[in-house]
Amino acid sequence: MIELFLIFIGAALVNNFILARFLGICPFIGVSRQIDTSLGLGIATTFVMTLSGILAWFMQEFILVPFNLPFMQYVFFILAISSIVQFVEMALRKMFPTLYEALGIFLPLITTNCAILGLALLIPLNEYGLIQSVFFGFGAGVGFTLAIVLMAGIRERLLFADVPKPLQGASITLITAGVMAMAFSGFLGLI
C-alpha cells in the first residue's frame, strides 16, 4: 500500500511529467490561459493517462512480451492512445459541449501529447504491475493537472502585471515555467 502511495506521489510531484521530465510542454503553454479550461484539459488528460497506462500494461504483458514483439511497442501504444483520445472526444462532445468547445484543437492534440506516450513507455521500463500502472498513470495525470492549473492561475495574474515588452507572451510564460520547475525540484527529497 505504501509502495502504491509512493508511486502516486512520485509521478505527481517528485517526477512531475511537465516540471521534472519536461514532457507535454505544448498543452502546458497552449491551454494555460484560463483556470477553467486548463482544469478541463487536465481532467481529460488524467483520464487518458490512466486508461493508456492500463492498456499499455495489458499490451506489454499479453501481446508484446509473449509474441516477442518489443519493436512494435511505439506503434501499439500510439494506437491505444489515439483510440482513447477519440473516445474521450466523443464523450466530451456529448456530455460537456462547452468544455469541448473551449478545449478546441487541444483535445485531439492530447493524442500527440508526449507525456502520455512517455507514460506508456515508462511502465514497462519501470516493470510495474497492473495496480502499480493504474496508480502511476493516475498520479502522472494529477501531476499534469496540478502543473497546468497552477500555471493558469499564475498567467491569469500575469495579465495584470507590468511585463517588459520583449518578455511579453510566450517568453514570460516559459520563464514562469522555469521558476515553477525549480520550485518543484524541492520535492526531490520527498521520497
Partner: protein
C-alpha cells in the same frame, strides 16, 4: 523469422479491429446530431462576433437561427444582404426591406469651446470613471464627457474624438452594432435611421436657465420649434425637445427656428465635424493638446 512477421500481422489486425469496433460502438452511443444549416449560416455571417444580435457570437446566433429561436434578419452588421443569404439557407422570406440601416448619433454638441467646464478631472481617461467622480469636469450633467469610451467600444473604428473633444461617428463605417450606446455612461448616443434628417442634439433635462449657464448649444425648451412645426412632430418632455420621426416631414423649419442651433440635419452636421477632424490631424498642436 516468419513467426515474428505472422505474430505482428495478427496482433496489429486484432488490435486494429478491437479499437475500431470499440470506437464505432462508442460513436453510435455518443452521437451528437449537428444541424448542417448552422455551419452554412455561420459562413455567411460577418464573423466579427460583435454580439449586436444579442448572442455571444456569430456561432451562437447561427445555432439560434437554425433552432428557430430568432429572426433571420437579426444581424445588424451584415444588414439585408446577410439576411437574404441566411433566409435562403433557412428557406424562408427574409423581409429584408424591414431592416433599415441604423447608425449611431451622438446627441450632444457641447464641445470644449461651447460647454463650460466647472472643474478639472484628473482621473483615468475614461468617461465611466469621470461619471463616477461627481460627473466629471463638465458643467452640464447630461453632456458628452469626451474621454472616448465610445471610441474604445467601437469594433469598427467608426468613432473618433475631434479636436474639440466630441465624438464623431463616421457614417460609412458605422454598422449599427450599438456597442457605443451601451458604453456611454451618459446614454447620449442613440441609433437613428439613415433616412431621418432633423435631430435634436441635446439630452439635457435641465431647465432653460440652467442649461444657458453651462452650454451655448443646449436645448433651453423655448418651444419655438414646437410652434413652428407644421406636422406637430415636436414636443417638449422634461425641458427637452423631442422629434417624433414618424410625423416629421423633413421641412427643416425647426432647424432655422432654433435659437441655439440644437436641431440640425445629420448629414451636414457630420460633414462639418469630419472636416474639423481632418483639420486637427493636419495641425501640429494636436499632440500637445492630448
Amino acid at each position: 523469422m516468419n513467426n515474428i512477421i505472422f505474430a505482428t500481422l495478427i496482433s496489429v489486425v486484432f488490435l486494429g479491429a478491437f479499437f475500431g469496433i470499440g470506437l464505432a460502438l462508442a460513436a453510435r452511443k455518443f452521437k451528437v446530431a449537428v444541424d448542417p444549416r448552422v455551419e452554412g449560416i455561420e459562413n455567411v455571417l460577418p464573423g466579427v462576433n460583435c454580439g449586436a444580435c444579442g448572442f455571444t457570437g456569430c456561432k451562437k446566433f447561427a445555432q439560434a437561427i437554425a433552432l428557430g429561436q430568432t429572426e433571420v434578419d437579426g444581424c445588424t452588421v451584415g444588414g439585408s444582404e446577410t439576411a437574404d443569404k441566411v433566409a435562403a439557407i433557412m428557406g424562408v422570406d427574409s423581409n429584408s426591406e424591414k431592416t433599415v440601416r441604423q447608425i449611431a448619433l451622438v446627441r450632444c454638441q457641447g464641445d470644449r469651446n461651447r460647454a463650460r467646464n466647472l472643474s478639472e478631472y484628473r482621473g483615468i481617461s475614461s468617461c465611466a470613471g469621470a461619471e463616477l467622480v461627481e460627473g466629471g469636469s463638465k458643467g452640464c450633467a447630461y453632456g458628452c464627457l469626451g474621454l472616448g469610451d465610445c471610441v474604445r467600444a467601437c469594433p469598427f473604428n467608426a468613432i473618433e474624438i475631434n479636436s474639440a473633444d466630441l465624438p464623431v461617428v463616421d457614417e460609412r463605417l458605422c454598422t449599427g452594432c450599438k456597442k457605443c450606446v451601451a458604453a456611454c455612461p451618459r446614454r447620449i448616443i442613440s441609433m437613428i435611421e439613415d433616412s431621418s434628417k432633423a435631430h435634436v442634439l441635446c439630452m439635457s433635462e435641465a431647465k432653460g436657465a440652467e442649461v444657458r449657464k453651462v452650454c451655448e448649444v443646449g436645448c433651453i425648451s423655448c418651444k419655438r420649434c414646437v410652434k413652428v412645426c407644421p406636422a406637430d412632430a415636436i414636443r417638449i418632455e422634461k425641458y427637452l425637445a423631442i422629434i417624433d420621426y414618424d410625423k416629421c416631414r423633413n421641412c427643416g423649419l425647426c432647424i432655422k427656428e432654433c435659437p441655439n442651433d440644437v436641431i440640425v440635419r445629420k448629414q451636414e452636421e457630420a460633414r462639418g465635424r469630419i472636416q474639423e477632424v481632418k483639420k486637427c490631424f493636419d495641425s501640429p498642436i494636436r499632440g500637445a493638446s492630448l
